[in-house]
Symmetry: C2
Amino acid sequence: MAESFHMKSHEFRESGKRLIDWLADYYARVDQLPVLAQVKPGEIRASLPAEPPQIGVAIDTIIEQLNSKIMPGITHWQSPNFFAYFPANASEPSVLGDLISSGLGVQGMLWATSPACTEVETHVLDWLANMLALPKTFLSNSAGGGGIQDSASSASLCAILAARERATNFKSNERGCRENLVAYTSTQAHSSIEKDIRVAGIGRANLWLIDVDEQFAMRPELLEKTIEEDKRAGRIPFFVCATVGTTSSLAFDPLPAIGEICKRHNLWLHVDAAMAGTAALCSEFRYIQNGLELADSYCFDAHKWMFTNFDCTCFYVANRETLTHSLSVTPEYLRNQATESGSVFDYRDWHVPLGRRFRALKLWFVIQHYGVEGLQFHIRRHVAIAQKFLESVRKDDRFEIIAPAPLNLICFRVKGDDGLNEELLRRLNASGQLYLSHTKLNGKFTLRFCVAQMRTELHHVEHAWAAICAEATKLIAARDRGSHSNQAASGRE
Amino acid sequence: MAESFHMKSHEFRESGKRLIDWLADYYARVDQLPVLAQVKPGEIRASLPAEPPQIGVAIDTIIEQLNSKIMPGITHWQSPNFFAYFPANASEPSVLGDLISSGLGVQGMLWATSPACTEVETHVLDWLANMLALPKTFLSNSAGGGGIQDSASSASLCAILAARERATNFKSNERGCRENLVAYTSTQAHSSIEKDIRVAGIGRANLWLIDVDEQFAMRPELLEKTIEEDKRAGRIPFFVCATVGTTSSLAFDPLPAIGEICKRHNLWLHVDAAMAGTAALCSEFRYIQNGLELADSYCFDAHKWMFTNFDCTCFYVANRETLTHSLSVTPEYLRNQATESGSVFDYRDWHVPLGRRFRALKLWFVIQHYGVEGLQFHIRRHVAIAQKFLESVRKDDRFEIIAPAPLNLICFRVKGDDGLNEELLRRLNASGQLYLSHTKLNGKFTLRFCVAQMRTELHHVEHAWAAICAEATKLIAARDRGSHSNQAASGRE
């Protein structure tokens, strides 16, 4: 190349190696960093130059700015002290697989635009289906198969679109969605189901949130009753989303009963196992997906508990033709012999975007590096640590446990009012020592403690528990003083 | 850490550096590889082990399999001989920025979940808006702003959803889309507009494809006539997508006229500049976006011509509240002080997925490395090379040029029947020397030659032209022999 502003080969080699070391150094000290970024709104932007550089700068400058201006605004999802939400693990093998994906920069919209991108994806998703003992209907040698999406939100949208088409005799794409379609999920389902139902033009008012039992699992008898009422009223029930491990409390909807109801009434059953699905790598946890053979579609996020960096939602359907029929539009400029032969998957027909990167590569790196046994080891390890934490909470009668916790998410609170628990959460997160998040269960403000970060060891959890106890002690003492002196027991000192 | 299947720090450092060298070596020889993968359907899968490894394997094995089993199925989008579709450039700085994004593994769904992820994105999209001289309405200090999406398909879906809500007085999310909404785009618009209209529950039958002029640009007088007819018929015109650089031929819809019509009839105007938008980095090409100040939303793909690896669609809106109002659903577990203060952007409300990675980092690396001048240099270089190619085609009277080519896409064909041109394309791509794609214009099979791959130099294009001429010479000779001997002039020897 003649004159060029491109990065030269030796510069890429040197810079790339520096950044690999930068990441390794980061991982070595991430447990020491305040988990939650301690910045105020606008602080990061204010530190950045108002104008972009006219003339490019050296990698030294870029790295210096990364360290000084960007890192202070990072919340450390890779910290072993991250117990909030669900994790977003970026294991080293996944980062390396993703590096190759970034670098090759292939587009896998059609089989023809990079055959390996499609075939490795189909292959690895078949591997995974077997590793998790998913129903055979989801394998690519059946009428079904799996593909990767960016998120469970997008996967459930595609399930809804395929269900919408099936329920309208494949007319909703053509004419718009005018039928009185009705969808169902539980009060505990992820908010993305509501969002997707809106996006698909069905309307939130046509999504019933079915009540749950004392374990926060959908009550199937209420589901069936509602479906029957809707049918009598001339509405068209078409879709149920059941959850394997809800976001609030990791509740498990009863798939066998829900699946039977869906079969009986001819509804599409989508199963969302975003975080918990990975547990099925271990035979002793596979009970969570009993009944999955009744589902039309299924997804779980390898980018949560399976050590594969975002984005990597694994989405399976039992009938891929219904899906692709719902999502395929082929202009002339995308026509090609392989597609017309019918012998290939074109994954652009499995989701909304046309472009798609080679995401299977990072999953392939992860499975190759850990092996099935390595992944099982960590799932079991996390569940065991979480159960020890559960035991500590249970033994301390200042606390109450709000939901069943058979796996790795503990929902608990200090006995007392919401204000005290809100303040406890605020102080713990502000301390930088750990990061946890909250939900509301039975109307009560509840702390969520999820053990699934790849670096989390027992001692991190013990340390977190000590910090929780210490802050709770202070807050309870303040409350008791406050109530003695007749002040409002708001939990604020 | 005690016993662990995790990759050890020194192993990550060594493997990472090997893979950086692997990529550098790849870039050094990518011009020598057959651009289009020369494999048959199923060939890559057949080479992969049927079962995943129970026990993890060493990085040596992973790299060996990458080389021997996966690379044969790669179509080389990073080759300087890639002239097909639109490019998907993965420049070295973008790959390095993306490496940090993968490695940090932060989630930017809320400002609170990693403030830098949100603030750097807003900041860099403001930078970009100024670099491209976009209307001030798209800056974050106005009522608008920009965010990153995975693809132009997803961005236009969000534009349609916001437009749908606005046109229904914010009722379509709640009640479903029952109104007789009608959308408009040109016959040359990207297929994603049709897909999005289906997804949104509006129905393909309610999308009018407005006819184009001899330059393949939308005819605004036909647009207005159709809108008026629809209004008289009681339908509700709500959305127009205009294209700045169509996929087929890089045609430019007349934004000023279309924008005036949209204002007059109160329609949402979305402008899709997926590939061509980047040209506006150079003042002499900014005429392509004249009239953009009339648009409600705009997108272009930094992952095409702006050297930033996929995915990186930059999506701007003039009124961010309409967008977020259309896409926001907030369950308890996502509530936080920063959101409730109203002082931050929560980008999950700008698109369908909840999770989102730190994509602004790669864009930030690209802008920092190249500087504005470096990026301008390459845009001008590509246009100049493309114009030389155009001149070569024009001078050869065996060929005809099918569409105006003011920038970097040349649409041309051999004078003669479609069969000959199809066979020409097939042979050129099978040769491995170059990769180009096709479209149909005025009903004729037409070759598309796009000059936008970052490594493409004049000599690659000259070599491509020589290869095209050589194959055309053979095919024309065969046709002429064939017609002399009264055989079907199918172009097949």
